[in-house]
Each structure stands twice: as C-alpha cells, then as structure tokens.
C-alpha cells in the first residue's frame, strides 16, 4: 500500500506511466488471448460492425446465478459455444474493441467506448477490457474520457490494482484551474470503491471542502458518504468536514451537505444548532432534492429542540381559529401568527404552564410553508409531514390543499400520498373534510388507488356528510371490480359502526346485498352484517331470519360460517328457525368445508344448551358425525364439546358452567382503520408506507419536556440573531439568486448580505405608493360649473324622477340640504347609469360575463346550501317507509333517495339561461335603466372635477378633469379620465396633445387623440386612460399646444382606482372571510347627522369610491340576524382596476349614529387610504 501510494503521489508524467503499464498489460493480455493477431486491423473493423451480442458470449455473471431469467435470451441464441452457466474458462473475444481502444484515433476509441458502455447498460460483463480501457483515462477527448469514467466507476472495485493506475490522473484533475474538471475528478475518484485510496480520498475531500467554487464543495459533500461507506473508520475526520461544509452559505452546497450529515452522523444534532437559522432561510433557494432532505432533517431537529405546540391544545381550541387557517390565504399568515401567539399567551395565563412558541420554531414553519407550492411532490410531502408533526393543530390545515393537489399526479404519487392522507385523516379529520369530493372514485382508477380512496372517505365520514358518502358508496357497490366492491362493503360496515345514526340504514342496505348475484359480494356482506348485528342483536331478529334462509343458497364457506355463528349466538331471538337450520346442516354436514363444520358443531352446542328438548338428538347426530371426521380439529372439537355440554359423571364441575362458556356476552368487534396509529412513523417515510421500520430509519423523537437552551442557535454575527433584520434578510434571499452574477466563484463570501436589490421594480413602486398617500387633499377642490351643464342636468333630473320617487326619504331630506347636496345625489346616480351604457367594447362584455358567471355561482351555492339544509333537516329514513320502498327499487342499496338532491340548476341548459337572465335582471335593478350614448354624457356635471390647468397659468386655456367611472375601452386596466378644455383666450389653440409622460414604473398612459383646433371661447372634451397600477401616484406629463407646454399632473383619489363588482351578500361574506387579518381595517366613527339614513350612507360611500352596493336583505332569513335589524349593515364591493384585487367595504350602523367602517382589501395601502376617504365622507 505504501509503495503504491508513493507511486501515486509522485508527479509522474501520466502518459509515460500509462505507456509502461500499457506494455505490461498487453503482455498479460497476450498470454490470455492467443487469438490476438497484430495485423487484424481491417478484420476488427468488420467484426466491429456486427451486433455486439455476437461478440459477448458470456452474459453478466456478476450477481451470481439467480438473475438469469429473461435477459439471457440474446446470448443463448447464438448458442453453445459460450459455455453458458459455467465459470469463466475461455478468454473473451473483445479483441476488436481492444484494438480500437489502442488506436490513435479518437473516433475509434469513442466508438469502442460507446459499445462497451452499451454492454454495461445491458448488464453484460465487460470487465476483461479493464486494462485496455483504463489507459485511456488520460485521453484528451472529453467524450472518451467521460465514458472511461463511467467504465471505471463500474469496474474499479473488481480490478483494484489496475484501477490504481488511473488515480494520478484524477489527482492532477483536482488541481485543474477549471472548477468542473476539479469537480468531476473528485466525483470519479470518490466513486472508485478501492479501500487502498481512502487516504487520498480523504485528502481530496478536505481540500475540495475549502475550494473556491461552490460546485466543487458540493461535490465534496457528495463524496463524504461514499468515503464513509468505504471506510467507516474515517467518521471523525469526515464529521469535521461536514461541520465545515454545514457552515457554508451557498444554496448549492446546503442540500448535499445535509444529505451527507444524515448519512454519516445523524445523531450529531448539535452540529445543526449554529446553522439552523441559516438553513431555514436558505431553504427556499435550495434545489428541490436538497429541500426534501433538509426539511426531513429539520423535522427531527425541531422535535428535539422545541416544545410541543399543542400542549395547551384544549385551550387553544377555544379560540376557534381552526377554520381560519383553512380558508385564510397566505397573506394572513403573519397576522394569524401574531394572533395565535397572543392566544397562546392568553391560554398560558389561564394555565400554569405557559407555552410560547420559540421564534425559531416559528421561523421553520414560516419558511417551509411556501414550499407547499413546489412542483415536486416529494417537497410538498416533506413540508406536509413537517407541519403534521410540528405545527400547532390550528395551522396544520394548510397542507390539505397541497396534498389534494398531488392527487392529480401520476398514480404512484397518488398511491403514496393517499397512504399518508389516510393516516392524517384519522388524527385530523377536519383538515380534509372540505376536500371530500376530491376522494371520490372514478371507474378508471386502478384498484389499489380505489381502495385507498375508500379508506380516506371512510375516515372522513361523520354525521353530517355520511349521507353523501353513503350515496357514493351506493354507486361503488355496482362496480365491475369485485375486489373494490368487497372493500366498499367493508367500508360501509366501518361507517355503520362509527356512526350510530346510520347503522340501520347501512344494515338494511347490506341485507339487500345478500340477494346480489355475485357470491363474493354476498359473502362479504354477510361477514360485515355479522359484525354489525353483534352490536344490537335484539332489534334485528328478522335480519337473522332472513340470513337463515340464505344458507340454502350461499356457498362461500366464510359466509355460511358467519350465518351459522350468528344463529347460534342469537338463537334465543330465532327460537323456531334455529333448530331447523341445524337440521338442514346436519344433513349436509359431511359435504361442508371445515370452517362451516366447526360452526355447525358450535351451533349444535349452543342450541343444546338453550333448547335441549328439540335439538338433543340432532346435536348427538352432529357430534357423532364429527367424531369420525377426517380433520382432527373437528374431531377434537366434537369431543371437547360433548364433554362440556352433555353432563356425565366424569365431566364434573365444568359442565355446570357450559352455558356461561358458550353463551357469554361477547364484545362487539371494533372495525378499525388499518392506518390507525401509523403516525408514530414519520409521515412520508418508507417505514410509514410499509408500516414497518426500514433500515436506517431515524425515529421521530418525542417532544422534550422542557425546551433545551435556545441560545445555542445564536450565531456570533449580530444580524442573524435579530428578528427584524432576519425578516429583511429573508426578503433579500428570495431575490438573491436572480440578481447575483451567474459566476458563483465568489461563493463562500456572503454575497447575500452585500446585495441590495435595486432592480426590483415592485419594491420601489410600493415604497412610493406610501409616500404619495399624504398629498391628495390639495386636489379636492370643487370646480365651478357652467350654465350649460346645469341645463343638461335639469333634463336628466326629469328622467330620473322615477328613481328619486323610490327614495322618498332622500327627497324629504334634500329640502333642508343645500344645493350641493342635491348635486351629489345626481353624481351618485350618474356613474351608475353611464356604466350600463358602454356595452360596445369587448372588455366590458367580458367583465359582465364574468360577473354573470360569478353570480351564477353564488346562486347555485345558495342552492347547494338549501340542499344541505334539507338533507340535514330531514330525519334519517324511517324504517317503515323503507320496507315498502325496498321492494320496488332495483338496487337501492342504502335507501338514500330521501336525500336525492333536487336537480341542480345547471342540469339542463334551459335553467342556465334562466339563471343568466335572472342575473342580468338583478344587475338592471342596481344600475339605472335609462340608456344614453356615451357622447351625450355631460362631461363633469355630476362628477367631482379637478383642475388640471388654471386659466391664468394656462394663458387662457383651462383644463379640468374628472374620473368618469366608465370603463376605458382601449384598455380595461386603465382608469378613464375625462378632460374638459376651455379656451377662454382670444386666440385659437391648436394641436392640443400630451407629451413627455413621466410615470412610476408599471404605470401606463393612453393619450387622448390630439385636438387639432380649439377655437377661442369654445370647450372640448377628451378622454384619456391611465393605468395607475393601483397606486395613488400622480401621472405627470406635459400638455402641449402649438405654442406652449404645461407641466401638469393627475393624481387619483383612491376611490377612483376601483370599479364596482356585483357580489351577493353570501359571496361578499365569503370573500371577506378570505381577507382577514392584515387585510382588514376597522374604524369606529360617528355618522354625520345628515347621513344617518340608508340612502345617504350609500350615496356618500359610492361618491367617495367607485363601488357598487351589495344587495342585502334577500337572504336575511337564511342567516341569523347578527346585527339587530334596526341598524342595518351596508356593504359595497369593487375591484381595483389594475390588479383586480377585491375591495370590500362594510358600514355597520349602530344606535345614535355610531357606526363601524370595515374595509377589506388585499392591498393594504389602498385599504388604509380608502378608510380615510370614506371616513371623511361619512363624518362631514
């Protein structure tokens, strides 16, 4: 060994060395293969073109005998010469390949190597080519080299001495300036499983672990377990390397080193402490496979370091926040956490033992959550198990959605996921209940998937959903897949035992199955019925009678045995039939299967004890038959029973107790899920799947009683420890990989910290959004109106009288209110009208379409609700009714037709139209009914207009603008701004247009068409569109005439950044439920005296913001009147123009003008500003 090492460490010229070796090797070869002729060049070519099978007479004997099944075909075909199974006696004919490998041409070498690799791939032995191949390790051609590496890794173990010849090449490779060559040299070197090079490998790994390139360090991490498997003695040294690599801050290395950690020293949890936070923070950027390994490791780590978050489970549950996490969107998370932590604290106050989640525990949960969105099923599963094992009960729900998504994947993925869901659904049923329908079975599912889905459905069954589930089962019973039917029957049995309400229904259904044509189905039903009857036999004597009759027909032994057992057990309930059954059985005794015979004896004994008058002789007869049976079990049983039940002198004391022995009350069987208690295995693991500990499985430790010192995770670098800065870092981390240079050579230094994400457009814009919020009150000046407009107004007023009449309250109030007040009113109705008009453009159409479908949704939702209600309100089917029905129906197994839903609205197309038109009707109600063409709209009369350019600064040209609240047809994402140009100068203005638009990033402007001529004293209007990107940033631009340029800017009040949407109250509430937490802003206020009636509130809110009223009252009777009816709640809904985020406004009035304003909006900035504006509108 030492000599070899010396040889290897010498800086030998590899080519020379290889040459000497070559001659050596050839010498050896020549001894072995006498066929080799020096001048066979051409011949070699020729034979090389033949299929290579012809040349390999021997198949891969590496694995020892057993493998030779199908793949042996090829070698056997060309026959006898090869000496098939025997030990290698003859030299192999790879001469042509050797020849090619020895040639100087790379192309020949390559060709040879390709064939050799193909041989390896097919599992054929190519080991005798080793010497010829190994000398090509220094070949310049990358491709040849690569294939030689492949070969080496495969055969080095078998030919250790020769393999050593290649080592020096790799050693030189380790020093190569190119990181990829360094990495691949290390990869191959560490893959050669030759013990003698362990020290070299160790050295190489150590060096590579501090390499500049993260890629090489990654390879070093990969090499660690390889070396460890080769020589476990090296463990201590390897741990040092692992420790060093764990401290690495690049995402490339993280996954691989944790993998090495898991394989070499999973017990050294202390190595993780200092790296814990870093790993959590890097996680999202690590490659998928690394994520899985890290998450699994961190699960174990967390179990040893943190406290059980569910310690105060009961108290936490009182908080009832469970549902919220279910439906809550991701954004609420932070808020939720705070809340939960508060709640936990509150709970802790009550209890003696306070639980506060370690911030590091929280960090882990928070940073893994986004990975539920990974495309990689393994990552999703890893996060799911982490949440299942580590998260507070209320938060586990988030994983359900992701797991259900995986059910759409390949069937293998489904199989694994369903197994895990089955386990989870026992512990946390509520989590999957909303997804019940996703587990419904299709006839095209493979059986194993069907059975697993059935398992989940059964686990999810409870009082409320059982009727739906049983209806599904009813369909499954008719399946052609009989294994599946049997499983379904079992499932029904389990539902019946678990949910007492449906026990009778299930039982009746199963009894009907007894007349099924398929014997398997009948047999399975009998077995399940037997179990069910054990629970309350007294009630079901007629079922037992029915089953007694079946003995004539059913042939399946298990079913016969079950029936006999039942009759015996409950013979008191069927005193007349039981002896008769025994009589029949006695007749056929000799022809029965063994299990049936045993039960016949059993039945005889029981009857003898209860009804010896009638059955004494029969029992004697049966026992006599059994006495001479072929089966010794049966003979024994007969003897045993005879002694027990027939009192003789000998039998003594025991026979007194015979009755107690045979007719003891037997506990009813518990039908349990096979997945019960599987969760003591870490979910997602192989062991869990097999329900047996697999080799190398790391037990999931129990939570510690008291938390270990959390300060071990503190890292010296100050910013890591500070929570706030951690937040920031995380944000940066996410962006990091996108903005760092692709050359990662600078790896080990903390590139993340130095980086500032200047490029991120979103951040800058959001920042300015906030800054812009303050400066809008300046603009809220009302401009005076011209006379013309007022005339027009009057006209319109006439048109609108109808509408006004509807609201007499308002009318009466307007007496005392000022003129301005009245104008406001008109303003309010106007935008609505204008909305209904512009149906010309596509976008508008599509929008209304979508709103239609939306309201359709809501409608049928209501339907569904009603259905549910009826389903719930209906008592479980009455037995009497059932009896009569049973006869009629062909296969109404479970008799659930009472629950049959009324045909849903979308069953027939006609109904669809109906509902469509209904929606349009509704819309028509909320909008005004008069139709005006867009051109005739009075520019700004009803709308608040703002000054863009004052007459004086504009040198005679004044410009006003208002937000017309009409959809901007060229681009639906833009807010329409209507401008009115008045030329009060003495000369004409020409070529009015916009130039030099300065916008925040993301914003866009669609200019109005140039106004060529604006004569003196005239006015003109134009509409332009601005996409404000949902911010109140001003759009700055220059207004140009043929002579002058004016710098102007348009800044929208926040209320104009939205457009109304139509929502029903239910939809509104649902949406609102999803926008809790940070997205909800609530403010208390006292309403202005003038606006305490409904109309005024609606008017003021809709003036302040472009929202539409949510109709209320229609479903008041459905929902319990939460607010007292005297103080109504007003709801308004809209969507922001650019991103379409919902904006929901609720004004809940209370006594004496007190009110509460709630704004729910995803965009918090908009929400805050909107609250301010509406508050102002309502209080002044």
């Amino acid at each position: 060994m030492t000599a070899m090492q010396k040889l290897l460490q010498l800086p030998v010229n590899a080519v020379n060395m290889v040459k000497t070796v070559q001659s050596q090797v050839q010498g050896q070869e020549e001894d072995k293969s006498p066929v080799l002729t020096p001048d066979s060049g051409q011949q070699a070519w020729y034979s090389a073109l033949q299929p290579d099978e012809l040349r390999h007479l021997r198949s891969g004997g590496t694995g020892g005998g057993g493998g030779g099944d199908q793949e042996e075909r090829a070698p056997l075909e060309e026959g006898g010469g090869g000496g098939g199974g025997g030990f290698q006696t003859q030299p192999l004919r790879h001469d042509d390949l050797k020849e090619m490998l020895d040639s100087n041409k790379d192309s020949l070498k390559l060709e040879a190597m390709k064939r050799i690799v193909a041989m390896i791939a097919r599992g054929k032995n190519a080991s005798d080519l080793f010497p010829a191949v190994v000398k090509n390790v220094a070949c310049k051609n990358i491709e040849v080299k690569k294939l030689v590496y492949v070969y080496l890794v495969r055969y080095a173990e078998e030919q250790q001495d020769l393999a050593l010849l290649s080592i020096s090449t790799f050693q030189r490779g380790l020093k190569d300036p190119n990181q990829l060559i360094r990495a691949s040299a290390l990869r191959v070197l560490s893959s050669i499983r030759v013990t003698i090079i362990v020290p070299i490998m160790m050295l190489a790994i150590k060096e590579a672990a501090s390499d500049m390139s993260p890629y090489v360090r990654k390879t070093a991490a990969h090499a660690i377990p390889k070396l460890y498997s080769l020589d476990p003695e090296q463990k201590d040294q390897l741990i040092e390397v692992i420790e060093k690599l764990l401290a690495d801050k690049t995402t490339l290395v993280a996954g691989s080193v944790v993998m090495a950690f898991e394989e070499v020293c999973p017990e050294r949890i202390d190595l993780i402490h200092k790296n814990y936070r870093k790993l959590c923070n890097l996680l999202i950027d690590v490659e998928e496979w690394g994520q899985v390994v890290i998450i699994n490791m961190l699960t174990r780590y967390a179990r040893t370091q943190f406290l059980n978050p569910n310690i105060n489970e009961s108290l936490l549950e009182e908080g009832g926040s469970g549902d919220k996490t279910f439906y809550g969107s991701d954004e609420d998370e932070d808020e939720d956490e705070e809340e939960k932590e508060k709640k936990a604290e509150a709970a802790a106050m009550a209890k003696r033992k306070p639980y506060v989640m370690d911030p590091d525990h929280r960090l882990l949960l928070r940073n893994t959550k986004p990975l539920l969105q990974s495309r990689n099923a393994a990552v999703v599963m890893a996060v799911a198990q982490l949440y299942f094992h580590l998260a507070p009960k209320a938060e586990v729900g988030v994983i359900a959605k992701a797991l259900v998504r995986l059910l759409r994947s390949h069937s293998e993925v489904q199989y694994v996921v369903l197994q895990n869901v089955a386990t989870m659904s026992i512990k946390r049923r509520g989590m999957f209940e909303p997804y019940l329908k996703s587990f419904y079975i299709r006839s095209t599912d493979p059986t194993q998937i069907k059975v697993l889905k059935l398992e989940v459905l059964t686990n999810l069954a409870n009082e409320t959903n059982i009727s739906t589930i049983l209806r599904e089962f009813q369909t499954y019973i008719k399946s052609m897949d009989k294994d599946f039917v049997a499983a379904t029957i079992q499932a029904i049995g389990r539902c019946a035992t678990n949910i007492s309400e449906v026990r009778d229904t299930c039982l009746n259904g199963l009894v009907q199955l007894l007349s099924n044509r398929d014997e398997l189905v009948v047999a399975e039903s009998v077995v399940v019925i037997k179990k069910l009857l054990q629970m309350q036999p007294e009630k079901h004597s007629d079922i037992i009678k029915h089953m007694a009759k079946l003995t004539d027909n059913i042939q399946v032994p298990m079913a016969r045995a079950s029936i006999l057992w039942l009759i015996g057990e409950y013979c008191e309930h069927v005193p007349k039939i039981a002896p008769d059954v025994l009589r029949k059985m006695a007749k056929s005794f000799t022809n029965e299967e063994d299990i049936v015979k045993l039960q016949i004896i059993n039945l005889a004994a029981k009857l003898y004890l209860t009804n010896s008058k009638q059955t004494k002789l029969l029992t004697q007869y049966v026992l006599n038959l059994a006495k001479y049976d072929q089966n010794y079990d049966i003979r024994d049983r007969a003897r045993f029973i005879r002694q027990l039940i027939v009192p003789t002198e000998k039998s003594g004391a025991l026979s007194k107790y015979a009755k107690k022995l045979f007719l003891a009350l037997k506990p009813a069987p518990v039908l349990e899920s096979p997945f019960k208690d599987r969760d003591h295995f870490q979910l997602g693991s192989l062991s869990h799947l097999l329900n047996a500990k697999a080799g190398g499985y790391q037990e999931l430790p129990d939570w510690p009683e008291a938390a270990p010192d959390p300060s071990v995770r503190n890292v010296e670098v100050p910013e890591w420890t500070k929570c706030s800065s951690r937040e920031k870092r995380k944000e940066k981390k996410v962006e990091k990989p996108f903005y760092t240079d692709s050359e990662g050579e600078s790896g080990p230094t903390e590139s993340a910290d130095s980086e500032s994400d200047s490029a991120s457009g979103s951040e800058s814009s959001s920042g300015s959004e906030e800054s812009g919020s303050g400066s809008e009150s300046e603009e809220s000046k009302e401009a005076s109106e011209s006379e013309e407009e007022e005339e027009e107004e009057e006209e319109e007023q006439k048109k609108k009288k109808k509408k006004d009449l509807k609201k007499p309250v308002q009318e009466s109030e307007s007496e005392q209110s000022s003129e301005e007040e009245e104008r406001k009113h008109q303003r309010k109705s106007k935008p609505r009208k204008s909305e209904s008009e512009s149906e010309s453009d596509e976008d508008e159409e599509s929008e209304s379409e979508s709103s239609q479908s939306e309201s359709e949704d809501s409608e049928s939702e209501a339907e569904v609700k009603k259905k549910k209600k009826t389903a719930e309100s209906k008592p479980p089917p009455k037995p009497l009714k059932k009896e009569s029905k049973k006869e009629k129906k062909e296969m109404s197994l479970l008799d659930l037709d009472d629950f049959e839903p009324a045909p849903s609205p979308q069953v027939t197309p006609v109904n669809t139209f109906l509902s469509n038109s209904l929606v349009t009707d509704l819309e028509g109600l909320s909008l005004s009914d008069s139709v005006l063409s867009p051109a005739t709209i009075a520019p700004s009369s009803a709308l608040k207009s703002y000054e863009l350019l004052h007459r004086i600064t504009g040198e005679g040209l004044s410009v006003e603008y208002c937000f017309s609240r009409q959809p901007f047809s060229p681009d639906a994402n833009m807010v329409a701004v209507q401008m009115q140009f008045t030329n009060s100068a003495s000369s004409d203005t020409k070529n009015l247009h916009i130039e030099d638009v300065k916008l925040q990033s993301g914003m866009r402007v669609k200019e109005f068409p140039e106004i060529e001529l604006l004569p003196a004293g005239e006015t003109a209007t134009a509409v332009m569109g601005i996409d404000f990107c949902d911010s109140t940033q001003a759009a700055n631009f220059q207004l140009c005439t043929h002579t002058r340029k004016f710098f102007v800017s348009i800044q929208p009040p926040v209320g104009e950044l939205m457009r109304p949407v139509f929502l029903t109250e239910n939809e509104f509430k649902k949406e609102q439920g999803q926008l809790m937490g940070m997205n909800e802003i609530t403010e208390k206020l006292t309403l202005d005296v003038k606006c305490r009636n409904e109309h005024a509130i609606v008017q003021r809110v809709t003036t302040a913001a472009n929202l539409s009223r949510v109709p209320c009252g229609s479903d008041k009777e459905c929902s319990p009147p939460v607010p007292p009816p005297d103080y109504p709640v007003h709801r308004f809904a809209g969507r922001t123009v650019t991103s379409g985020s919902l904006v929901l406004v609720t004004v809940a009035t209370k006594e004496e003008g007190a009110a509460q304003l709630t704004v729910n909006c995803e965009k918090m900035v908009i929400g805050t500003m909107l609250v301010k504006d509406i508050l102002q509108a309502l209080t002044q």
Partner: protein
C-alpha cells in the same frame, strides 16, 4: 460477492442504489448501478408482484424484499424499477424516476424501449449526470442539455462522419450560476414568449345529470425564447380564482403571496410555469350534458344503447374533438350502432367502445344508438358502464382565468408575446 451484503448491517445509505428498466414483456433491457452492483435477480420479487397484479397499473409502487426495497413507476409501457436499501421518502424516488422518464421524453421525443435502446449511451450518460452516489445531482433539463446534447438527425449524421460526439464541447455554466434553470448568454434574433393556458375539467356526473364533483386543473405551459436575462412579470385579471397553485422553481413565491403576480426569470425554451387548481368549492361550468340510456335485457341476450350529447355551458364557444369512450362489461360481444355524427368503433377484445364525434353542433345534437349483442348464458351485468368524455374548447379558459399582462424587465428589446387558452376534459366521467 456483492459488497453491499457486507454493509447491510450498517445500513449504508445511498438513496437510489440501482435502476432497472423493464419492458412490458418483463425483459430488463437497461441497468445502471450508482454504487456496487446489485444482481438483477432482485427483480424477481417485482415480477412476482407484477404477475399478481394482473394490470400493470395495479403493481404496488413500493415492494419490500428481504434485503432491499423496490420502488417502481410505470411510464409508457415501461417499468422503471429502483432498488433502495435504506429509509428514503418514497415520493423522493418516485418523483425522481418520473423526472428521469421526463428527461428521456425531452431528449428523444418519447420514452419507449426502442428509443432507449437506440440511444443507450446518451441514456447512460444522462443517468450518470442525474444521480451521484444515489443522490440527485442535475435534474434540470437546461443544465443537462448543456452537458449532454440531445441527439438530432443532422448532428448524428455529422457525428458519424467526423467522429464528433454529443457531449458538450464547452463546459456547462448552468450548475455554477445562481439560476440553475437558465444558462447565460442566450441569444435569439426573434424574441418571443408564448404561454398556453390549458384547463382540464375533472368531473363526475351522475345518472340524473347532477354533478357529483367537479374541479378544474389548469396548467400554464410556456415557450420562452428570449435573449439575455429577461425578468418577466405576469399578472392575471382575476388571480383570486386560483385556489391552489404550484410553480416552477423560477417563480418568486413572495411576490405571488404579496401581489398575486408571477414574477420570474424564465428557463430557456419549454417549461411548465405553473399548475393551478380551482376547487370544487367554486362551481365549475360543465360544457356538455349527456343523455344516455344503456340497458341490458335478460331475454334475448341483447342490450340497447342510446347516447345524446348536447352543449350546456360552453360560454358561446364551439366544443371540438368530442369523444366518448365506454368500457363495456365483459359480456358484451358486439355493438351494432348508428351514429348521427362521427364514427364509432368497438374493440371486442378490450371491450372498448369509442365514439369519435368531432365538433359539437348545437343545432343537430349528435346521437349514437343501436343494439348490443351479448354473450348468451351469462348473467346480465349489474352495472352500466360509465362514459368517459373527451372534448376541447379553443380560446377559452373555462374558469374565467385571464392573463392581463406580461411585462419584461432587465432587457431592452421588445419581445413578441402571446397567450393561448384551451379547455379540455380531464377525467370527465358520466355515471350511468
């Protein structure tokens, strides 16, 4: 002789030890070992299970043998069987095997025995790159393609003439950049980005026409050919529709969470940007309704079949590529039907009735009716077969999802952008 046996006690861990690729006849035609060699006799356990399962789909994906665990997937009539020695998340292996099959598909256009045999060297090189010591190393198609070039006809001709190879001449950069899915220095003369929004309706409709369950599975496939390092932002008109999403690793989670926009630096070429799910909680529009009656008569051993399909909620678009597939019970020998539109075929060996309708004409609803001849003496099937519907609606995402805009940052050129919508039937089943 295999050293793994020696190591068994220490549970020498590597995630994936060996891979065998097996065709539908049960021949192992490719094997690859990442550590010591494991005899292919280990597959016997698998063949046993395969025999028992009857249907290849019913082979349990995870099998336990005395010394190993076998995890397999079934793809394109091939089994990919991996040998595991120690605890490993099964999904990890399954997902990886599918990734291997995906890679083959990506490289060779299909994943079949003949293609793998023809390209055995490339396959082997790929496997070598994808897994190091049983742990995944490079699975991104972009990275792999830099290291090992996919074959194409022209290059293979050139290669045979010049002795060139399919291994990249230049060293790959992908692994080394911080964006593992995109290589540097991409250049196109025409810069274009296309997005296909495909939605599939999974539904179960019961006998009476009531929807038992319905959900929409959507996927956005992208074909992005942009130069340099473009940073794209895609926003939707109605992102709230999306109930559940999963992303290509390139998508920035946080942006999505806070702003509901997809912000990403795209991989070069084709990739799946995101998949989404619109759950059964929302009501799903069902584009067609089916009126059917299938009955079997005790007397005369025959049956009747009558199927009519009509449009239901098609949002005013045409339903195309309409197809009905029925798995008939075993007793049905033949079908004598007339179709008012399209053609039907009945394969009496597989008992598969396929009715290819084509475009759905709302004025004249397609109908298929006629008699079924049954095997005599066999009791009538209890269950009526369920109908599987296939359909396609162009230019429509049935959920109403719309891409509102796509912006590009980081590069100065103006790319050509396009979005296409298609709705298809996924697992759309009508119970009868």
């Amino acid at each position: 002789m295999t050293p793994c046996r020696v190591n068994v006690k220490r549970w020498q861990a590597e995630m994936i030890h060996s891979l065998f690729v097996i065709n539908h006849l049960g021949d192992i035609f490719l094997e690859k070992h990442w550590k010591s060699v494991i005899s292919r006799s280990v597959c016997d356990y698998f063949f046993e299970a395969r025999e028992k399962a009857v249907d290849p789909e019913n082979v349990p994906p995870v099998l336990q043998t005395p010394h190993h665990y076998l995890i397999s997937i079934y793809r394109g009539k091939l089994f990919f069987l991996s040998v595991i020695q120690t605890e490993v998340p099964p999904l990890f292996v399954i997902e990886f095997l599918h990734r291997v099959a995906d890679t083959f598909q990506d490289y060779f256009g299909e994943c079949s025995e003949s293609v793998i045999s023809d390209n055995v060297v490339i396959v082997y090189e790929l496997l070598e790159e994808m897994l190091d010591n049983g742990f995944p190393l490079a699975t991104e198609s972009n990275v792999l393609k830099e290291m090992i070039r996919p074959p194409n006809i022209l290059r293979s001709v050139v290669n045979t003439l010049t002795g060139g190879s399919n291994v990249g001449e230049t060293l790959p950069q992908g692994q080394l950049s911080n964006i593992p899915w995109r290589r540097a220095g991409v250049k196109y003369t025409n810069n274009e980005a296309y997005f296909d929004v495909t939605e599939e309706i999974d539904a179960i409709v019961d006998k009476s026409g009531t929807t038992v369950s319905a959900e929409i599975q959507g996927v956005i496939e992208a074909c992005v050919k942009l130069s340099g390092m473009p940073d794209l932002t895609m926003s939707f008109m109605n992102p709230r529709l999306l109930d559940d999403v999963s992303f290509h690793p390139c998508v920035r989670f946080r942006r999505w969470e806070s702003e509901r926009v997809l912000s990403f630096i795209p991989p070069d070429g084709n990739f799946t940007l995101m998949t989404y799910h619109i759950s059964s909680q929302n009501l799903v529009a069902i584009p067609v309704y089916v009126k059917q009656s299938i009955s079997f008569f005790e007397a005369g051993s025959c049956g009747r079949l009558d199927i009519t399909i009509g449009p239901k909620q098609t949002m005013g678009k045409t339903v195309e590529d309409l197809k009905v597939t029925v798995h008939m019970p075993k007793a049905v020998l033949n079908a004598n039907l007339t179709a008012s539109q399209g053609n039907y075929t009945y394969d009496f060996t597989t008992k598969l009735l396929v009715w290819d309708i084509g475009k759905l004409n709302p004025q004249k609803l397609p109908n298929l009716r006629g008699s079924l001849s049954m095997q005599t003496g066999v009791p009538n099937p209890e269950e009526n077969p369920s109908l599987n519907i296939d359909l396609k609606i162009q230019q429509l995402a049935i959920s109403g999802l719309k891409v509102s805009r796509l912006d590009m940052y980081g590069e100065t050129y103006k790319p050509f952008k396009g979005v296409k919508y298609v709705t298809k039937a996924g697992k759309f089943q009508v119970r009868t």
